[in-house]
């Protein structure tokens, strides 16, 4: 299902992508004793794509990555790399390379020896000059040209990260696996590396599979996002689809900031809120439901005349180009509103009475009791 989803969207919105898959999961389950880490996942990573596995810790995303790397074997199901089943194949015979979360560089070797390590293992052996040329080329790619003879402990965290990257891409793997590669970097470096990883992926044309718990990282870099929850795939799609059309309350909550509105869908397409206000609702299902609304979909008006919900500003956080407001809507609880400079009013201060308006189409309705699906 996820497989069909990825391919269905690739032609429509994603970049042009070869239809063959570099990685495929067929009904893969992984259990540790009584604990099920991965519960029957189907997944397809198209050739040349940048795919992110996104989810909270313990959702099974790292286990999936380790099953591709060969460090774990699935309890049930098949993992395919380049359409070849990989069950029972040890890590050193798989055409993938991994960038480990804590880099896992070899401390007793210098930068060049770290980078050339994979090439030096290959049989039949590669000529020394060729190994040197390709290793230096990889170091140039990650902008560590003059660092070949440095010791690992002489490098900063960001430089170690680049060495780990060079050590993996020098082998030209079919797929590059990245396990929370930016988690240990500070904010500024992380943003810079996000751009670099994207550039690198386009230049090399290698499939990148990124595991992360940081939704911003996943949305900003990848062509496709696969949101995971409790060992299952919650949604697969382009970053925009996942953000704009979340398939469940969980996805809506996990990807980006959201406002929850509880209410009841009445016959005739009316979503009745707790304070009696009525909103237009699509769909035919009736009964109690939860709606999610993105903070940036809400407009803030200083005049109280017109459509929408009235409320009082409680907090105001200045973030540069945007201002974040917390507004206590009458009888409904708190709303988070992101006010863009130029688009909406930014002058309201805590204590002010305001009116909130939004396009009904921005409202996503989910039947009640689906938060954990």
């Amino acid at each position: 299902m996820a497989l069909a989803n990825v391919h269905g969207t690739s032609s429509a919105k994603g970049p042009a992508i070869d239809l063959s898959n570099d990685i495929e999961f067929r009904a893969v389950t992984k259990r540790y004793g009584a604990v099920t880490a991965v519960a029957g996942i189907d997944l397809a990573v198209p050739k040349g794509a940048f795919v992110a596995l996104l989810g909270p810790s313990g959702c099974g995303k790292t286990t999936c990555l380790r099953m591709i790397g060969g460090f774990e074997q699935p309890t049930e199901g098949i993992v395919l790399i380049e359409n070849r089943p990989m069950n029972g194949v040890p890590p050193y015979q798989r055409p993938v390379n991994m960038v480990f979360q804590h880099y896992a560089l070899f401390p007793h070797l210098d930068v060049l020896a770290n980078v050339s390590y994979g090439l030096r293992q290959m049989r039949p052996a590669i000529a020394r000059a060729e190994i040197l040329r390709r290793s230096e080329e990889a170091l140039e790619l990650v902008r560590l040209g003059g660092y070949a003879k440095r010791r690992i402990h002489e490098l900063s965290g960001g430089q170690q990260q680049r060495v780990a990257l060079a050590r993996a891409i020098v082998n030209r793997p079919a797929v590059l696996l990245l396990d929370e590669p930016l988690a240990a970097l500070d904010r500024k470096l992380r943003t810079a590396m996000q751009f670099e990883l994207q550039t690198l992926q386009r230049e090399l044309g290698i499939t990148f599979l990124l595991v992360t718990h940081d939704q911003e990282e996943a949305l900003s870099m990848s062509d496709f996002v696969c949101v995971m929850h409790a060992g299952r795939v919650a949604q697969t799609g382009t970053p925009r689809e996942v953000y704009d059309a979340p398939a469940s309350l969980f996805v809506a909550d996990f990807v980006g900031k959201t406002n929850h509105i509880a209410g009841v869908v009445e016959p005739g397409g009316v979503f009745r809120l707790a304070n009696g206000a009525a909103l237009a609702a699509g769909g035919s299902a009736t009964g109690s439901a939860a709606a999610v609304l993105r903070p940036e979909a809400i407009r803030l008006h200083p005049d109280l005349q017109g459509e929408g919900l009235a409320g009082t500003v409680t907090h105001r956080i200045f973030l540069g180009s945007t201002v974040e407001y917390a507004v206590a809507a009458d009888g409904l609880g708190e709303f988070l509103v992101t006010a863009d400079r130029g688009k909406t009013d930014q002058t309201a201060a805590p204590g002010d009475r305001v009116r909130l308006s939004f396009d009904p189409a921005a409202l996503h309705l989910f039947p009640a009791g689906t938060a954990q699906s």
């Binding site: 890590p91 993938v96 804590h102 880099y103 896992a104 560089l105 070899f106 965290g157 050590r167």
Partner: protein
């Protein structure tokens, strides 16, 4: 408090200092310093009994330490791969082997060896084609076996600590970069644990070289250097014994300092930032 501490150190080290001092005594007397001389060192190292004992000690210490280094390292690697519970048991057993008193190891090894030899020798005699079958008795082999067993525990403890500090991810990274398990051991694990193996070897060598009790029980007719010293003081403490003791002390100190140097913490931790 300060005086008390001084007294403790004085009590500990003064006798040793005296032994070193009197090894350079010119006179025969071990309690009256009559002038500086290295004459007793010359006498000691031309004494054929003493040289023979020294040679025995060196052979036993070298072979037992080498065996301990090899098997101790293998044990350390095996323990690292065990389940948590099994690892706890084996770690405990190795730690226990270090604190078991020498007397107990000596008696236990003697009883075990005599029992085993009691079975082995008739079997050899039974299958030996010639007239007089060789008899395996106590000697080099039994001291090496006894020393090797308890110094192996020392090597295992030291190497274990280093392997535990290596982390699983660099081993996985090596596998991910196409190295076979043996390739990973040779290129990643061994270079990083080698200093601790050598340190373990040096400590094992020192323990074996200095051991009197275990050797006393199981050496049979062979005499090790500590046994020779023990036997010769029954004829009175001469400056010759002092010279031997001083030589052993200096050699042991060098070995232990070497081991300590190899086990020092390394600056291989990644720098943050």
């Amino acid at each position: 408090m300060r005086a008390f501490v001084t007294a403790v150190y004085l009590f500990l080290y003064a006798p040793i200092a005296l032994v070193v001092l009197f090894s350079f005594n010119a006179g025969r007397n071990a309690s009256e310093f009559t002038g500086f001389s290295v004459e007793w060192y010359g006498k000691a190292f031309t004494n054929t009994f003493l040289v023979q004992a020294l040679q025995n000690s060196l052979i036993i210490a070298f072979v037992s330490a080498a065996l301990a280094a090899i098997f101790g390292t293998m044990a350390a690697i095996a323990i690292e791969r065990m389940s948590d519970r099994a690892r706890l048991v084996f770690d405990g057993l190795f730690a226990a082997a270090i604190v078991v008193p020498g007397v107990v190891i000596g008696i236990a090894t003697l009883v075990a060896l005599v029992t085993v030899l009691g079975w082995v020798n008739p079997i050899i005699a039974g299958v030996w084609p010639g007239e007089s079958p060789p008899r395996v008795g106590l000697g080099y082999f039994s001291v090496i076996a006894a020393h090797g067993l308890f110094t192996m525990a020392v090597v295992t403890m030291i190497v274990r600590a280093r392997i535990a500090g290596l982390g699983r991810d660099i081993v996985e990274a090596s596998g991910d970069l196409y190295a076979t398990p043996f390739g990973t051991f040779r290129q990643i694990v061994l270079p990083q644990i080698l200093p601790s193996i050598v340190a373990g070897f040096l400590l094992a060598f020192t323990f074996s070289f200095d051991d009197f009790i275990v050797a006393f029980f199981v050496s049979g007719s062979k005499t090790t250097l500590p046994m020779y010293v023990f036997a010769s003081i029954r004829r009175g403490v001469t400056p010759e014994v002092n010279a031997v003791a001083t030589s052993v002390l200096v050699a042991s100190l060098f070995l232990i300092l070497g081991a300590h140097f190899l086990m020092r913490p390394r600056s291989s931790k990644p720098v943050e930032g």
